[in-house]
Assembly symmetry: C2
């Protein structure tokens, strides 16, 4: 079972890495880019024996306890069985 | 128009950050996690005037020229119009 977690900074939090990437893209001639945000993409390989509802609960707990700084970041996740 | 880019290390490349996260999750009691890979999640806000086929080409070029180290990383992207 695979859980894919997408973590990004909250919209009101400044993203210096995104700003740097945005500037880099413009310098390379990609003028159509208005804004860039850089976050984390975490892929968890989980034991298939765990029921999906239990896995969802566990992934939520993992995010809140370790993977995501909920003060400045927000997250979504998907589980493929 | 929003382009979402998911970058991860190629499967054969060692991921020390993923290993550290995996160990951390196990220490917190999440025993069902077999493997963790940590990648990047990049969200581009692009000019709506660009046709989707052109945007797809541009995002591919951005990935290969700046956003992704294609020697060790692989990527996928989605564009929402």
């Amino acid at each position: 079972m695979t859980a894919r977690i997408y973590v990004k900074l909250k919209p009101e939090v400044l993203d210096p890495q995104g700003k740097a990437v945005s500037g880099g893209l413009r310098n390379l001639g990609f003028g159509g880019v208005k804004d860039v945000r850089v976050g984390k993409y975490i892929v968890l390989d989980m034991d298939d024996a765990i029921p999906v509802t239990e896995a969802e609960k566990q992934v939520k707990d993992m995010c809140e306890e370790l993977l995501v700084n909920t003060v400045i970041e927000e997250y979504e996740f998907k589980i493929d069985h």
